[in-house]
């Protein structure tokens, strides 16, 4: 009996998480579209639904846009290309979206003790949580690759191939960047990494890893400026050219959920997860005055809020970068991954190890050294690796000087 109740609770929790992730996706698309529009001097979708304010003002216009989009996609015709490999074609969106959803169980979204030593906001506190995150984020590329293959379309195929090549290349840099964090905190458990950032967020000692992680994770979720997978100018729509209706929506969904999840992972690993100055003190005083239940609830909500706030900041950064940068060329993408990010990440691992041995207790000095090292490496690398402008081969000569 006890067992079945546990199973039921687990199922409900999973459902809540899946729905939350999907809602997050829906509103992230709105967030991105509105923000991108403002970056481009436009207004963005502001028609579907609004909250009426007194005085005829309209507040938050367009907040039903995701719902409208979903309805539209549901009602579109569901076409399977005649020459497609039907079953693989049908299964590919699932392959893409399931990993995107199950990433979330590995991320500690906050601290909400359930009173039994567990945490409502961390679904799967496994020993190798970091490895789980890495593994699941890269599994998602199977969906893209087989979608490209099964569509029986050369553009989709190239899109899928590009996706696998790109994800494999950036997986290394991503893994090495995370490895440095693991070394810094001495654990593979994500919740312990978060707890270890109570005093000092990892972004300070692991600044270099953070930068590498941001770049590599953008490439990992094939997002602008690394969205060669769906380069419209070359590949029509890329791997999802032949997909329509909800099947397309699932790819779209997996892409955006993965993006937000990557930002969430960055928050957990580098920005202190649900930690925020003041929450601990407040919760401790509440525990004294109002008892455990209230304190746990408040702690859960506050840490979740802090986590989501930080994730929103990083998501803003993603949109901002998308609004700014043009797409990179394929050789540039490979160069960046293999020749710049990976050596940088390796160097970071080495330096982290050295600092860890020389100053095993850590402390402010070690953090400052690591931070300075990170900044210097980023600046020096960008100076060295910046594209060289070819010298003018033709000397401009003033007319009439005869030379």
């Amino acid at each position: 009996m006890e067992f079945w109740i546990d199973i039921l609770i687990l199922l409900v929790r999973c459902l809540v998480l899946a729905l939350a992730a999907t809602t997050l996706f829906a509103y992230f698309t709105l967030f991105e579209r509105r923000l991108l529009a403002r970056f481009q001097n436009r207004v963005g979708p502001n028609r579907a639904g609004y909250i009426p304010l007194p005085g005829g003002k309209k507040f938050f216009g367009g907040f039903l846009q995701p719902a409208a989009d979903a309805v539209k996609l549901f009602f579109k015709e569901d076409v399977v290309p005649e020459k497609a490999d039907k079953w693989v074609y049908l299964i590919a969106p699932g392959f893409a979206v399931i990993p995107a959803l199950i990433i979330w169980v590995g991320i500690p979204l906050g601290t909400w003790p359930d009173g039994l030593g567990g945490n409502w906001l961390h679904y799967a506190p496994v020993d190798v949580g970091v490895l789980y995150l890495l593994a699941v984020t890269s599994i998602g590329v199977y969906g893209i690759a087989i979608a490209g293959w099964a569509s029986n379309n050369k553009y989709s195929m190239i899109g899928g191939v590009r996706a696998s090549a790109q994800v494999i290349s950036y997986e290394l840099a991503l893994g090495l960047a995370i490895l440095a964090v693991v070394m810094q905190n001495g654990t593979f458990r994500t919740e312990e990494i978060v707890a270890g950032q109570g005093m000092m967020w990892n972004i300070v000692p692991q600044f270099l890893a953070f930068v590498i992680f941001l770049v590599a994770s953008t490439a990992e979720v094939v997002r602008s400026p690394f969205d060669l997978v769906e380069a419209e100018q070359e590949l029509v729509g890329g791997y999802n050219t032949e997909y329509g209706s909800m099947k397309f929506a699932l790819f779209f969904m997996s892409e955006y959920i993965k993006l937000v999840a990557m930002n969430a992972i960055a928050v957990a690993l580098f920005l202190g997860g649900g930690n925020f100055p003041g929450i601990d003190t407040l919760v401790a005083s509440l525990r004294e005055s109002s008892g455990d239940t209230v304190a746990n609830t408040v702690q859960g909500l506050l840490t979740l809020g802090a986590f989501l706030l930080k994730t929103t900041v990083l998501s803003f950064l993603s949109v901002w970068v998308r609004a700014t940068t043009p797409r990179v060329r394929y050789d540039q993408l490979m160069n960046l991954g293999w020749k710049i990010l990976m050596p940088m990440a390796l160097l970071n691992v080495v330096v982290t190890a050295i600092i860890g041995v020389v100053m095993p207790t850590g402390g402010v000095i070690a953090n400052v050294i690591m931070f300075a090292f990170g900044v210097v490496v980023v600046v020096v690398t960008t100076v060295i690796a910046a594209p060289k402008h070819a010298k003018r081969s033709v000397r401009l000569v003033r007319a009439g000087t005869g030379n």
Binding site: L35, A37, R38, F39, Q40, N41, R42, V43, N46, W320, V321, A323, T324, T325, V378, V379, T382, V383, A385, A386, P387
Partner: protein, 165 residues
């Protein structure tokens, strides 16, 4: 390279705080130019008589063949227009009309004028045909001043009006 990247980010960030250039159409309508050619109107004289004398020059000038004019003799005692005849039926097919304004040019009495109304959507093809009751301005408005563009016209007919009838 880092500098260029941050410069780019700064540029886009600057636009975040600018007012969007978008004109939110149904609520905000941009005024059209004085010479804008929109929906037609059949004008009246100051005394309320129709300017249209049913000559069908507009129909002849129309390159899209959108205009139908069926003239009729004026009743001597109660004339509709100052001439001998008036337009008993006057229809413009808005699906055919290309808003070139040749009918305006062809009209000897400045009866037909392309005005500034441009919201001309309809649900079926039948309602695309605007008949005289829709085109003719009400008797209490639209007479008197003709549009400035036409006022200055001490003009010769434009080429389409010279078509051999």
């Amino acid at each position: 390279m880092l500098g260029a990247f941050f410069k780019g980010l700064g540029t886009t960030l600057k636009y975040l705080f600018k007012k969007p250039v978008t004109v939110e159409y149904p609520e905000v309508k941009r005024p059209v130019r004085e010479r804008f050619r929109g929906r037609h109107q059949l004008k009246r004289f100051e005394n309320g008589m129709e300017r249209c004398i049913g000559c069908a020059l507009c129909a002849a000038a129309c390159p899209a063949d959108a205009i139908l004019v069926v003239p009729a003799e004026n009743d001597r005692n109660q004339p509709n227009s100052p001439g001998e005849r008036y337009a008993a039926r006057y229809e413009i097919n808005m699906l055919r009309c290309i808003f070139c304004g040749y009918c305006e040019d062809a009209c000897p009495t400045n009866a037909i004028v392309l005005e500034h109304q441009y919201e001309l959507s309809f649900y079926d093809r039948k309602s695309a045909i605007y008949d005289k009751s829709m085109l003719l301005v009400p008797i209490d408005q639209g007479h008197g001043e003709i549009p400035p563009v036409l006022q200055q016209l001490d003009r010769r007919p434009s080429p389409p009006a010279q078509i051999d009838l």
